[in-house]
């Protein structure tokens, strides 16, 4: 369904990512792991065409992914967002429908219903008129999750979604990831959390400037692979 072929990124003469090849199927939840600076976000941004100096191709259903971005819901890192921006919860979630609505038009009734359902699903509909800045980190992340849901995309990508969120939000997110899997969606999740949450993922990608390993948790999280990625197997907490 999603194929990454010979993906390399160089950044001002430095190689940020080298020759990554992997593919992901429908109904699959994939965790992307690696140390800071391993190129996890770079890989995602290169796949989506958000950065330049990229070699290689990313195909989605046989066609370049960059030509099908309407099928993608992307949740950026928390640090990329200005949380003091004057916007309400409802309008953040409604951003999901911007492309579908089209230029010079108001969101359709169907769009409003989708946004309402998505906010209800993450437990944020009651707070729809609040400013995004008035919410906790976990609530903000749930609004972004609702935005991703309301887009009804086939490929969902989350960059560090668990940073700064509470346990309740984390549980809701994994519940929703499971629902999306059952709807044959493909989910890529960048994470740092090498704890028991690893068991949620169908497959793990381990990166450190190159693809170290891809496969099931037990195949990937070996001492040798962890040493290749992190320099030491000690970071791995739960088996």
């Amino acid at each position: 369904m999603l194929q990454v072929q010979n993906l390399s990124v160089s950044y001002r003469g430095t190689c940020a990512l080298q020759d990554v090849n992997c593919s992901f199927g429908a109904g699959e939840l994939v965790g992307i792991f690696g140390p800071n600076g391993a190129g996890k976000s770079t890989m995602i941004k290169a796949m989506l065409g958000l950065i330049q100096s990229v070699n290689g191709t990313t195909l989605f259903l046989g066609k370049p992914l960059t030509q099908q971005l309407a099928q993608v819901a992307y949740v950026p890192q928390r640090s990329q967002i200005d949380w003091d921006y004057p916007v309400t919860v409802w309008n953040v979630a409604m951003m999901a429908r911007t492309i579908q609505t089209g230029l010079f038009r108001q969101p359709s009734r169907q769009s409003r219903e989708l946004v309402k359902a998505a906010l209800e699903r993450v437990g944020m509909y009651e707070l729809r008129d609040r400013s995004i800045g008035e919410l906790s980190g976990g609530q903000q992340q749930r609004v972004f999750l609702a935005r991703a849901l309301a887009k009804q995309a086939d490929l969902l990508i989350f960059d560090e979604p668990f940073v700064g969120v509470d346990r309740k939000t984390e549980d809701i997110m994994f519940e929703i990831f499971a629902e999306l899997k059952s709807q044959a969606k493909t989910l890529l999740v960048i994470s740092h959390d090498l704890s028991e949450t690893l068991s949620h993922y169908d497959r793990i990608v381990l990166l450190n400037k190159r693809l170290i390993a891809i496969g099931s948790r037990h195949e990937v999280m070996t001492d040798d692979n962890l040493k290749a990625a992190y320099g030491s197997p000690m970071h791995f907490v739960a088996a």
């Binding site: 958000l50 004057p86 916007v87 309400t88 911007t98 492309i99 609505t101 230029l103 010079f104």
Partner: protein, 294 residues
């Protein structure tokens, strides 16, 4: 009182100046709101100084000054993003360099290009709202209407882009065009302001009403509407102060805008410095009461 308000309206220059103050108040608040939420205020300052480079070229080529100013403003942003994206330098230092360099190009060309020395640099730097002509008013009215229509048509796209540019780009939106649209709108607003407040004070006109509104409301469109009201009010009050106190009109308008900002900064119900400390005091009193009760 009423006579005091009506007397100045007997002069055409005053009527034109007041109309210009209202128009610029509205235009600056709308464009300035985008600058504030995108943290592009210093870019507005850079563009306003950079337009000076286009004025002597326009005179030399026999083009309207506004065209020269607009082109120079847009080119300065292209130079800025070119240097910033191709180097490790941070955007604030690149902006400082571009601002000063374009200003230097402008002042040099004024003396070098044939005919360009008829540009009054002092006038460009400080503006003169009392010298506003009917054609200046028509130009500013046109720019204001154009930008208001564009903002109305592209509001939801610009909201998404300015809130989450990476998410918008990842969703397939043509973000480069939106960026170019915003910098063009800033440049057009600068052109409209050039005659009136001049290069040096322009940045305050652009950001002060929006900043004041930002402290009082919670949505971008509310910030624009309230900012427009505050901007127009600053223009009118500033002009009357200028008329009666005989102080420079641009400075008077900016000082009124700053006064309104200070009021919001101190007394905003949700974010005011004094109202917040009062709320904290009341909360502390209430908590003390709770701990005392059995």
């Amino acid at each position: 009182m009423l006579n005091g308000l009506l007397d100045p309206l007997g002069f055409e220059f005053m009527r034109n100046a007041l109309a210009m103050g209202v128009l610029l108040g509205i235009l600056c608040a709308v464009v300035g709101s985008y600058m504030i939420v995108q943290q592009m205020s210093m870019m507005g300052d850079m563009i306003s100084h950079s337009v000076l480079a286009g004025l002597p070229v326009a005179v030399f080529l026999g083009l309207p000054l506004s065209i020269g100013a607009l082109v120079a403003g847009v080119i300065s942003t292209i130079v800025l993003s070119g240097i910033e994206s191709q180097s490790r330098l941070k955007i604030d230092s690149v902006m400082a360099l571009v601002l000063a360099s374009f200003l230097a190009i402008g002042t040099t060309l004024v003396t070098v290009l044939p005919g360009a020395n008829r540009i009054d640099v002092m006038h460009v730097l400080f503006g003169n709202i009392l010298g506003v002509t009917r054609s200046d008013l028509i130009l500013t009215f046109g720019i204001t209407i154009l930008i208001l229509i564009a903002v109305w048509l592209f509001y939801k796209e610009l909201l998404f882009y300015t809130f989450d540019p990476i998410g918008a780009q990842a969703g397939g939106m043509p973000v480069r065009w939106y960026y170019l649209g915003i910098v063009t709108a800033i440049s057009l607003t600068v052109v409209a302001n050039l005659q009136t407040v001049g290069v040096l004070l322009m940045i305050a006109m652009l950001v002060a009403p929006g900043m004041t509104a930002y402290l009082l409301v919670k949505e971008l469109h509310q910030m624009m509407v309230m900012g427009a009201g505050l901007g127009a009010l600053s223009g009118i009050v500033g002009m009357y102060l200028s008329y009666y106190l005989d102080i420079p009109s641009g400075s008077a308008i900016v000082l009124v805008a700053f006064g309104l900002f200070l009021l919001a900064f101190l007394f905003s119900p949700s974010q005011g410095l004094l109202t917040q400390s009062e709320m904290k005091r009341q909360l502390a009193d209430r908590l003390r009461g709770l701990t005392r009760s059995p």
